[in-house]
């Protein structure tokens, strides 16, 4: 049998094109002839490699087809949109810096205004300063507008709603107002269509977002279910002052279906890349802990867990509680959220504190 026939036979055997007699003959041939057997093994390996290539190519072809289709529908950004996406890209890259710069500009403008009015007899200057302030506010307003637009653009196209509710994210939130306001991270609920909050007892309530700020990563949810019973007094408070290095802290959250306790300490007064709006804390967290409270020994909520460092364990960032007050100010009374003012956890044993707290920690989930 020459080699051409042999390779042909190997391929026909592989493709199942042989008659039963041929199969018996071929298998005998392989068994009794080591050289042929080796050639067959080698050729089969080679054909398998070719098949893999064929399969992947067919698959890639389909991938490209789907990609093109979705690009035409606008679900996938196209290359033509490069200019726009570049801005988006730069914005995303620098928006934290821009936010910081904007706030510094605010501080500078206030201090110069004071100095100018103190040292100048000329009243015109004093008249000019509020104008500057006004322009700044306009500028800030424009920045916000641009941001909203860009965020809308990045959200691309929303998927059609599914008829049945299946949660596809889970995080933590906690009550800031007993009448049914819960705070959590903005990144948790940004793309959510439906949001459900669940307490320790497993009671579920529908909730809707009433405030989302992607820069500070804070969001407020309002429980819209009438079955929710209002809480007269929350036991914890939110300090406006900065917490101290080395303070012992703990958190409660829902990395699992059950509420989980974790403790650690405050390791730096600034967050990622010197971000002064957050703390660095040392604690072990998992997905699902996002949005959980960071509580000190007096039962004060000093922060809200938001992110963690990628290549280090236990380096977690928490948004300072002061930002909650800023958020409320920003809402300008759209919702009547009243933060608790009386702390009833101070001086209690940690176990008792947790018992008093855990009813107000919620699992936030949705799709």
């Amino acid at each position: 049998m020459d080699d051409a026939l042999l390779l042909d036979a190997i391929e026909r055997y592989r493709n199942g094109e042989m008659s039963p007699q041929e199969i018996i003959f071929f298998e005998e041939l392989r068994k009794n002839n080591p050289d042929i057997d080796q050639l067959a093994a080698e050729h089969n390996f080679f054909l398998a490699e070719l098949d893999k290539l064929s399969e992947i190519k067919a698959y890639k072809h389909n991938l490209n087809e789907v990609e093109n289709k979705l690009a035409n529908e606008g679900v996938i950004s196209q290359n033509q949109a490069k200019a726009k996406t570049k801005i988006l890209y730069l914005w995303n890259r620098y928006r934290r810096t821009i936010a910081v710069a904007a706030s510094i500009a605010g501080i500078v403008s206030i201090s110069t205004a004071t100095i100018v009015s103190m040292y100048s007899e000329n009243k015109k200057v004093a008249v000019i300063t509020p104008l500057v302030d006004h322009q700044l506010r306009q500028f800030e307003h424009k920045l916000n507008q641009i941001e909203t637009k860009l965020n809308d653009a990045s959200a691309v196209i929303k998927l059609p709603a599914k008829p049945k509710f299946e949660a596809n994210f889970r995080a933590t939130g906690f009550l800031v107002d007993g009448s049914g306001y819960i705070i959590t991270n903005a990144h948790v609920i940004t793309d959510a269509r439906n949001i459900i909050v669940e307490n320790k007892k497993g009671e579920q309530f529908l909730a809707k977002a009433v405030y989302i700020n992607k820069i500070t990563d804070l969001a407020f949810l309002k429980i819209s279910d009438t079955s929710f019973k209002k809480v007269a007094a929350l036991p914890y408070t939110f300090p406006k002052y900065s917490a101290e290095l080395g303070e012992h802290i703990f958190t409660l959250g829902y990395p699992r279906e059950e509420v989980v306790y974790g403790e650690g300490y405050l390791s730096a007064k600034s967050g990622y890349f010197g971000d002064t709006t957050s703390y660095q804390i040392s604690i072990s967290v998992n997905p699902g802990n996002s949005g959980g409270p960071v509580i000190n020994k007096n039962g004060e909520v000093i922060g809200i867990i938001s992110s963690k460092e990628t290549n280090a364990d236990g380096v977690v960032f928490a948004i300072k509680s002061k930002n909650i007050y800023d958020a409320l100010k920003e809402m300008k009374g759209d919702e009547s959220i009243k933060l608790p003012t009386v702390n009833s956890l101070k001086g209690l044993d940690r176990v008792v504190q947790v018992q008093k707290l855990e009813d107000f920690i919620y699992m936030v989930k949705g799709n």
């Binding site: 080699d3 080679f46 490699e49 991938l63 890349f273 960032f317």
Partner: protein
């Protein structure tokens, strides 16, 4: 159907190279991945590359016989894309994100290792095909890659009959095998 059954159907569709399954997975996951990559110093075009690669990893996994995904598709895709993207950033020694939002991931190192190896193998075969030149390359691709029949190939390439085409294919095949195995052994 609950979400697990839905996902099983999707993966079966994927293994069978079904376009509608591919489309569904794209629709449900693409924007998240793009947002992740753009947020971490990438361009939307990078997202297309990375997402395609993750789809291939998922395809390879879905085709394994005893295959069961221990997590949701979106978690798997996110984990693979995240790994691939961070790796690419590292290779280009570009800015490596030190902080990111806490999102569920699963370990995908094993899958990516298998995928890398497969990529190497496929590149070997493609290189060999490129080296043998035309018409050999086209004939072999028509038969082995596009799975066309011999009479069809004879017709396309202007052979008088299928047997002539077959003889030519045989000669080409021997050359391809020679180059492929030479590379293969060098690579080891």
């Amino acid at each position: 159907m609950n979400i697990y059954e839905q996902e099983k159907v999707l993966l079966e569709g994927l293994a069978a190279n079904d376009t509608s399954a591919i489309e569904t997975i794209y629709r449900e996951n693409y924007s998240t991945i793009q947002a992740f990559i753009v947020k971490n110093s990438g361009y939307p075009e990078d997202a297309r590359d990375i997402f395609q690669e993750a789809m291939i990893v998922l395809f390879e996994k879905a085709k394994q016989e005893s295959f069961e995904l221990s997590c949701q598709i979106k978690t798997f895709i996110y984990s693979v894309c995240r790994r691939l993207w961070l790796k690419r950033l590292q290779q280009q020694s570009r800015y490596y994100p030190a902080s990111e939002i806490i999102k569920e991931t699963v370990p995908v190192e094993d899958e990516l290792e298998v995928h890398e190896k497969l990529n190497v193998d496929l590149t070997l075969m493609e290189n060999a095909l490129n080296k043998i030149g035309d018409p050999c390359k086209s004939i072999l691709e028509a038969y082995y890659i596009q799975k066309k029949s011999m009479p069809e190939i004879a017709d396309t390439f202007g052979y008088t009959n299928a047997d002539n085409a077959k003889t030519q294919k045989y000669k080409c095949l021997l050359r391809l095998k020679k180059i492929f195995f030479a590379q293969y052994k060098n690579g080891e």
